[in-house]
Amino acid sequence: MIEDARPRKILRTLGLIAIVIAFVFPVYWLLSFSFKPERLFFDLPPVWTFDPIVTEWVNTFRTLKLWETIINSIIVAGGSTLLTILVGTPASYSLARLRVRGKTDIMLFIIASRMAPAVALIIPFFLIYQFLDLLDSHIGLIFAYSTFNMALYVWLLTVMTRELPADLEGVAEADGYHPFQVFLRIGLPLMRPSIIAVGVLAFIFAWNEFPFALLLGGRTTETLPVVAARSLSAGGVEWARLAVISTVMVIPVAVMVFFLHKQIVRGLSMGAVRG
């Protein structure tokens, strides 16, 4: 076994390197496009070394007012994630840990609301929003995103919260704590990794969301996916601009996952909360 260890380790490392390349290369390729002079885009064999230029970055930010778009995206995705967490967390806790009448029906209803394709919901949404004057408003998009994110969030978080040790609530009540205090002092801290994991997921969904943003949004609420899509037109594809916007879109998600990956893994596995 000991003689085996070295070759096995080398093989393992090589395997890991291959996997990392497979995943990182497209990101690198995207990034390189945003700095490459346009004439080199489709050279074969590909050009690996070139003097990076920032013209496209400057242009994109200036002509498209990309900052405004980024802020729109942050408001809409962040707002809907926040709303989802605020409303969804107590809901999940209740469904997972408390005696709620018709619990199974509620869970089924929640998952069913996620089954319909977004396109099927857009027309009713559009009509309702037109009536309520919510078209092209941040709050309108936040609510729209929260509907589909809530289903995902509550469903996943409920399933995860069920995994907490049984009878925690009973013991805490016997220790003299009101159920609401039990939620705050026992439930919430233990749900935290899951809240973060599922919250990140909800944020990513909202961040990348396209059809709702396109049809319910407008000039003042344009989000990154909508602007990115405009790089693809009948007149052709503006590769460099698309690369810039796509890079901008990848950054916050990458940063978030980088800093929270431990919590995310813990949340998804719930391994660390066994008592």
């Binding site: 040790p165 009973g170 013991v171 016997a174 220790d175 003299g176 801290p189």
Partner: protein, 388 residues
């Protein structure tokens, strides 16, 4: 004073507890003894208020509490699966009930520290106070759970198998220590356990619970000496009383046991009219039976050895008697080979006779005759022995 009256808990068709009535005085330890599934934990949950009873009442010092919210009752519960708060250290776990708004009084930080360190020393967890629950072994977690209850000044203390997962040395020591502490406490304690020895050792009174019903609620010695039925007899004592089917014969008074060549003659100390007729269950304590050599006087029954378990001063010998297994206690060390034929002497043994149809009532005590041949001939009309 805790009083539980006529407490019934039904889950649909299933009756988890039926008309349970018991009480416990301050400083008294009442053991709730019963096998798993008997309803022990259900009873404790009802008293804690985590479950609402179907009917019946629970009162504390005369005040009915069954409608009161569980967090207001000030009842300390040690859960059988410990249930520590996973995100809190041992200290934080133990301080948690003391920091509750519903605690009987306010505790200063200093007092909390003192109470925790005092209890932690007794439970030998004083070196683990900064640990997280996931860093503890099962036995350590159980002690932390116990500690979390012992730091409190509850109205009632409920212990659900509180020392079942500790190693033997600590369990033996803690049993005595807990008895000493809790007897001096100004609150009553209910101690649920499936262990008959533990129940008799630790309690002032024992409630034997089986299939949701209390079979007997009495002092340990009464439970041991005068079990009211098979259900009680089978859970008290180590090893517990042997219970086997038999048939009672009125004249001459005797009992026919499966596998015995002839009926055992009985000497009856009580009135004859209360005798159950026909098929009965016979209970005999392991220490009342002996292994004898062939030819020894008295009534003996052939059997074959199943196992010998040496335990220091005694050996528990299991023997097979036709369809039944008997256990008997012999002083000293014995190592009889498996399947070796032996003779079991009943002479002089105290025998309890339980009526079969109502196994929870109608127990009678007898003594088998010593060395007398007077009644030994069995009537030829005897029915074959019933087993099962």
């Amino acid at each position: 004073m805790l009083e539980v009256e006529d407490l019934t808990m039904r889950y649909g068709e299933l009756v988890a507890l039926e008309s349970v009535t018991l009480d416990a005085r301050p400083g008294e330890i009442v053991a709730v003894l019963g096998p798993s599934g008997a309803g022990k934990s259900t009873l404790l949950r009802l008293i804690t208020g985590l479950t609402r009873p179907s009917s019946g009442s629970i009162s504390l010092s005369g005040r009915p509490i069954q409608k009161e919210a569980s967090w207001r009752r000030n009842i300390a519960l040690v859960h059988e699966s410990y249930v520590l708060y996973p995100h809190m250290s041992v200290t934080e776990n133990m301080a948690f009930p003391l920091k509750s708004r519903e605690a009987p009084r306010e505790y200063s930080d200093q007092e909390i520290t003192e109470r925790i360190s005092e209890v932690a020393k007794v439970l030998e967890i004083d070196l683990l106070l900064e640990r997280q629950p996931h860093e503890l072994s099962g036995g350590q977690r159980q002690r932390v759970a116990l500690g979390r209850a012992l730091v409190r000044e509850p109205a009632v203390l409920l212990l659900d198998e509180p020392i079942s997962h500790l190693d033997a040395k600590l369990r033996n020591w803690l049993r005595g220590e807990l008895r000493r502490r809790l007897s001096a406490a100004p609150w009553p304690t209910l101690w649920a356990t499936p262990d008959g020895f533990e129940a008799l050792a630790v309690a002032d009174r024992v409630a034997v619970l089986r299939a949701g019903q209390i079979l007997q609620f009495d002092e340990p010695q009464e439970i041991f000496d005068r079990p009211v039925g098979v259900g009680v007899a089978e859970v008290s004592g180590t090893p517990p009383m042997n219970v086997l089917p038999g048939e009672l014969i009125a004249d001459p008074l005797g009992v026919k046991v499966a596998g015995a060549p002839e009926p055992l003659p009985l000497v009856r100390p009580t009135q004859i009219d209360s005798l159950p007729a026909g098929e009965v269950s016979i209970g005999v304590r392991p220490f009342a039976l002996r292994i004898v050599r062939p030819g020894d006087a008295g009534s003996s029954t052939p059997a074959s050895v199943l196992a010998c378990e040496y335990s220091g001063r005694h050996t528990v010998i299991s023997v097979r008697l036709e369809h039944e297994t008997l256990r008997l206690l012999e002083a000293g060390q014995h190592n009889i080979p498996v399947n070796e034929p032996v003779l079991i002497a009943w002479d002089g043994a105290e025998v309890s006779i339980f009526s079969r149809e109502a196994s929870c009532a109608g127990a009678l005590e007898f003594q088998t005759t010593v060395g007398s041949n007077e009644h030994r001939a069995a009537p030829s009309s005897e029915q074959p022995v019933q087993t099962g």
